[in-house]
Amino acid sequence: MIFDDDMETLPREELEVLQLRRLKGLVDRVYANVPFYRKSFDDAGIRPSDIQSLADVRYLPFTEKQDLRNHYPYGLFAVPKDNVVRIHASSGTTGKATVVGYTKRDVENWATLMARSLVAAGATKRDIIHVAYGYGLFTGGLGAHYGAERLGATTIPMSGGSTKRQVILLRDFGATVICCTPSYSLFLYETALESGIDIKELPLRIGVFGAEPWTEEMRRDIETKLGIKAIDIYGLSEIMGPGVGIECIEAQAGAHLQEDHFLLEIIDPVTKEPLPPGETGELVITTLCKEAQPLIRYRTRDITSLNFTPCRCGRTFARMHRVMGRSDDMLIIRGVNVFPSQIESILLETQGLTPHYQLLVKREGNLDTLEVQVEVDEKIFSDEIKNLQRLGGKIQKHIKEFLGVTAAVKLVEPRSIQRSEGKAKRIVDMRNSS
């Protein structure tokens, strides 16, 4: 099933014609209405009329999260404030909040893209959609909500928290689709079991999961435990919110990004040069249709690759690989890009669990060295040295196979790796400190 057949299955040539028309209009608009863009275009020596093909987008300057912060709160709006009907903002844990405004049309477009997403996930207007993303400044709750209503489904605006109550209402209201973070779905499952409810026995059949990185292993776990199809949805508040892209239930192999609304590029995060199709790098998005706060070449920091091969669902939109990491914490070791998340997946595949780990990078002579410290907990400990050495060897071999980097694997005692309050600090880079 496809919500917007005309757009979602548009042949690529026609899609590109549409994208170019929208891009030209966008460039004119931001140049005329956003002082920040006028200045950055001028500084780069670019005039809107220079954009004659989609490939010309590479001459436009990037927009970074810091630019949003520098113009906090309303400095990047491209329309008068009277036309802005909604404001969302990120939490601002790593600095000032990033604020995004929406016109009436933006909100409608978003609802449509989210409705498309729900249909791609396998939902129909006959479904009962339980939205357990937080409502408020965070885009998850309202984004999913308006999409579900736009689809015509029965929408339960549950929001986050009160997990026991969520379970009761999931059961009583007979929800068939749930929107929440993947980890929350597992928490719901456990809470339900404690009350003697097996979610598998409920009519729930689809989970639309986003807002945090997750793995294939986690997907399998969720699908088995809850007895549902787990679908990955992609979005970011700076661009729109949930529904920038979504996996189709037919393939479950990468989120289709809504290319009629978003122009995609993959760049090398270091040289910032565009990479050829299929290469892995940082996703850069230009919002083709946004009115209130359009962004030119927004650096998402998400590391992924795009797959343009036709999908069996019939959609022509490119699919993005599951986010492999963030360009902010990319390590370059002897010329090879390494992300902590890749090491984490390897540890997960090697041992079936996620131990506490840390990456230590040093320079010996002219050579970078990578040491992966893995805490030995009871699950991986053995009283026999050969078993522990075999484990270390296996991790080393997998890292070499998957990343092409030789790492020293060091098994360390639990709690010997420093804990941090917020996100775990995975990297200690000592190359520039000596």
Binding site: V376, D377, F381, S382, D383, E384, L388, L411, E413
Partner: protein, 143 residues
């Protein structure tokens, strides 16, 4: 017939072994036998103690990774060939010794060897059949 051994993961740095000994001393746990296996990065300390439940809890609370394993304590005549005859009956059955360590009691004509086998149950069967004395766990802990 099996005895319980606890094993502790130790990083190879100064003070870790001392820390284990201190925690056990404070908990008034007596060490009956021990063996320390080491590599360049880490070591594994294996212990037979007077109270392994308490020892395990004490060490875990102290932040150590602690495992527990079934081992077999065998009484070996303190005479030439005593160990050989035991190993011979095991190897003829294809049973492998993963590791072992021994201690000699005061004023005794026998040594006690702690064995970790790849197939513990089968090893016990072979030893019993051959009339070898296996020291039960409870006896071992209070020796």
């Amino acid at each position: 017939m099996k005895a319980e051994q606890i094993s502790i993961f130790l990083e190879n740095r100064a003070g870790r072994l001392e820390e284990v000994a201190r925690l056990l001393a404070e908990a008034k746990i007596n060490i009956r036998a021990l063996s320390l296996a080491d590599t360049s990065d880490f070591g594994i300390l294996r212990l037979i103690v007077s109270d392994h439940e308490k020892a395990k809890k004490t060490l875990k609370d102290g932040g150590f990774t602690v495992g527990r394993n079934a081992v077999v304590a065998v009484q070996v005549p303190d005479t030439p060939g005593g160990l050989h005859s035991i190993l011979n009956m095991l190897s003829s059955q294809g049973i492998n010794v993963e590791y072992m360590y021994a201690f000699v009691q005061q004023s005794s004509k026998a040594a006690t060897i702690i064995f970790r086998f790849d197939r513990t149950d089968q090893a016990i069967e072979v030893l019993t059949k051959n009339g070898i004395t296996i020291i039960p766990g409870d006896t071992l802990y209070s020796m």
